[in-house]
Amino acid sequence: MSVVTISRQIGSLGCQVARLAAEALGYRLFWREVINKAARCCGAPDAALADIDELGLLGLKTSLKASQSYVEAVKRVIEDLAAEGDVVIVGRGGQTILRGPPNVLHVRLVAPAGLRAERLAQRHQISLEGARAQVEARDRYRRNYLKRFYHIDWDNPELYDLILNTARFTPEEAARHIVQATLNLPFPARQETLFPYDTIPGAC
């Protein structure tokens, strides 16, 4: 009944790593589902949309009351998922909402800003200049989100049990480290749910 939270910088291949780790552990993966469920629960769909809109393209302005209601709903959704166990939760303050329980592993995925911009430029077929601007804006958004609603410093290493630099590790290697660390938790994954990476579609 373990839980893995993954905080990731944009362009750090965080979603790919999360997917690989979840598949290897036999855990359910939650990312955007947390946002959508919270939006439905609290009746503040535009707050959820504003949360997704990290670049501010939609120019959404939500009231403090709606934002707080939405963040509370996010917290409840994450706590409910953690109570069910065997889940990997990406983003949305999981590292602070689930701070404390010994069966939760908090992972942080990072990479140098230049490399992340190159990855974004390649993935979205955009200019490197535009990709750099996206990296800066999305880092700023995520840092501010955690500062504003949870009063924590996103970059504080003490929030995490494991920090991985994907400039150094491939997504498969990073996922392997996460799996290994999860197995060392008090309530680790069931061994029989683990399977070799070469059975994961798209894995190297």
């Binding site: 939006a39 501010g56 535009g130 601007a133």
Partner: protein, 142 residues
């Protein structure tokens, strides 16, 4: 009674305005599921019960359960749409609907390298962004 959403058309819809297509691209960029004009909300009826005024929001975002209506900055259109929106909220209080002013998106899209998405927002109501001019010039040169 609120009409049920119709199933999404898997084929690409025909947008009635380039700004709508640009908006759809933004939603795609963020990985947000959307349906184009899935439902019409009757607003007024004549004495025979025939709908004489209705409102069809441009988009529905099923995961957020949110309707989106795009509008321009032209005050007369904005005012009319705002009035319709108020009427929709009176008659159908259960639905969530949001009005977006499309011009606000363009400059940011260019800043973040999203030239294709921004292209639909060019036109008489907005100046051509410098980044687009640059890109178009490069494409023409190539």
């Amino acid at each position: 009674m609120i009409p049920s959403p119709e199933p999404a058309d898997p084929s690409s819809p025909r947008f009635s305005h380039p700004a709508e297509e640009a908006f759809a691209k933004i939603l795609d960029f963020y990985g947000i599921a959307w349906v184009y004009e899935p439902r019409t909300f009757p607003l007024e009826w004549d004495e025979h019960g025939v709908t004489v005024e209705a409102f069809r929001p441009d988009f529905y975002l099923p995961d957020q359960d949110l309707y989106i209506e795009l509008t321009t900055l032209r005050p007369e259109l904005s005012t009319r749409k705002n009035r319709k929106l108020r009427r929709v909220k009176e008659l159908y209080p259960e639905i969530n609907i949001k009005l977006f002013k499309r011009r606000e998106m363009r400059d940011l899209m260019v800043k973040f390298g999203l030239y294709d998405q921004a292209a639909g927002i060019e036109g008489t109501q907005a100046q051509k962004p410098e980044g687009l001019l640059r890109k178009n010039a490069q494409q023409n040169a190539g």
